[in-house]
């Protein structure tokens, strides 16, 4: 019997970023990640030091919790992490789709899964240089192949600085077929500390001016709404 390591399940709230921004969503955050981004805002779902906080759940357990939170009304379920692609979410998606739930998944694109094809939305978010991680574009492309038949595949890139920005442009040239979403990086990831709203909007402004000043009109530029609204509080 498949079991899954789950760091948290919460919602419904709205999706705070990217292609589905504003969409009422229940989030299933998988535990475990093959990356260690320097600015990761989800270390509680990455570092095995937090492993004792993760639940071991069957796919039916996961969907039972999603159902409870949404009052049994189908909505979008976002599978995130950590890197959810290191586990097998096929059974969760199969049960949920049967009941009318829609599924989105966000992953960096380092591990591919056959169940990508069952998703409504696959968000591939390769990590820019500031993360300290390196993208294997061969593996990234394999993710895209696995996703054939899914509703939509999009690319989302977090931009902290000029180096990240140049890297994002190169990534876009590599995959012009993917709708692109850029978001300013958030260095304030400590859940114990409040986020400075003015600094957060300044970072968005910087990225907007970068893109428009550059005449690069392809990407959409979006903030992390949940950071603007809730700061770094978890489970909202």
């Amino acid at each position: 019997m498949t079991t899954l390591r789950i760091a948290e399940i919460f919602g419904p709230t709205i999706q705070g970023e990217g292609a589905l921004i504003g969409e009422p969503t229940v989030f299933v955050r998988a535990g475990g990640c093959d990356y260690r981004c320097s600015w990761c805002d989800s270390m509680h779902a990455v570092d095995s030091a937090y492993r004792h906080d993760w639940a071991v759940m069957t796919p039916e357990d996961v969907m039972a919790e999603v159902r409870r939170l949404s009052g049994g009304k189908p909505l979008t379920v976002s599978i995130s992490g950590g890197n959810p692609a290191i586990q097998d979410f096929a059974p969760v998606i199969a049960i949920g789709k049967e009941e009318g739930y829609r599924f989105a998944c966000e992953t960096q694109g380092s591990v591919s899964q056959p169940w990508f094809a069952d998703l409504d939305t696959l968000v591939l978010s390769p990590k820019p240089p500031s993360s300290g991680e390196k993208t294997d574009w061969h593996k990234f492309t394999r993710c895209l192949h696995q996703a054939k038949g899914c509703g939509q595949a999009v690319m989302k890139i977090v931009v902290f600085d000029d180096t990240d920005y140049a890297w994002a442009k190169a990534a876009a040239e590599r995959h012009p077929e993917l709708p692109l979403y850029l978001q300013p990086g958030n260095p304030e990831v400590d859940p114990e500390l409040p986020v400075d709203l003015n600094q957060a909007t300044d970072r968005l402004l910087w990225l907007i001016e970068k893109v428009t000043g550059d005449g690069w009109f392809t990407p959409r530029v979006l903030p992390q709404l949940h950071v603007l609204v809730w700061g770094n509080k978890r489970g909202v």
Copy 2:
């Protein structure tokens, strides 16, 4: 020769709300409106007291300015107002599309135009009770008929209070075929006064909790990003 009353043309910046949120855009704000919403944030494009500030431009003048602002690179042009549907934007759209520009238009749905069919995106934003205006749903439906053949038609509703919220739900039931975007109302429309960011995020939070608490998972809930980033400053 057609001429147009234009209150302002500005950009490129990003679209701050609704279906195209985050999209690099040049805005063409038409002068004149058949409504007088109590909380209108664009009175400089509505009230004929500001008429002497509006430019009288030919369609080629309008596109020349759009071209200048975008450095000749095609992007999305958003035609707003006022109510742009009381004027003839067909020639502007024809010239722009020829050069690869895409066109969105936002209107309350009180006046229909054949050129709606030429748009990439038609945003119909019927005004809720708090506006003091009343929607003529027959005219609204005529707008939708005129829009047949356009890229996409969506509905956006501003929600200030519980009455508006109930009204938005009824509007959604009337037009389930239209993807729906809700945004919290902004009562702080004086361009001379700063916007209180915490209050703006509180209003978003209120609407998110309303929708999710209600199990109403169809609409997307989005803030006005430009208000969060720039306050009420014009021309950004």
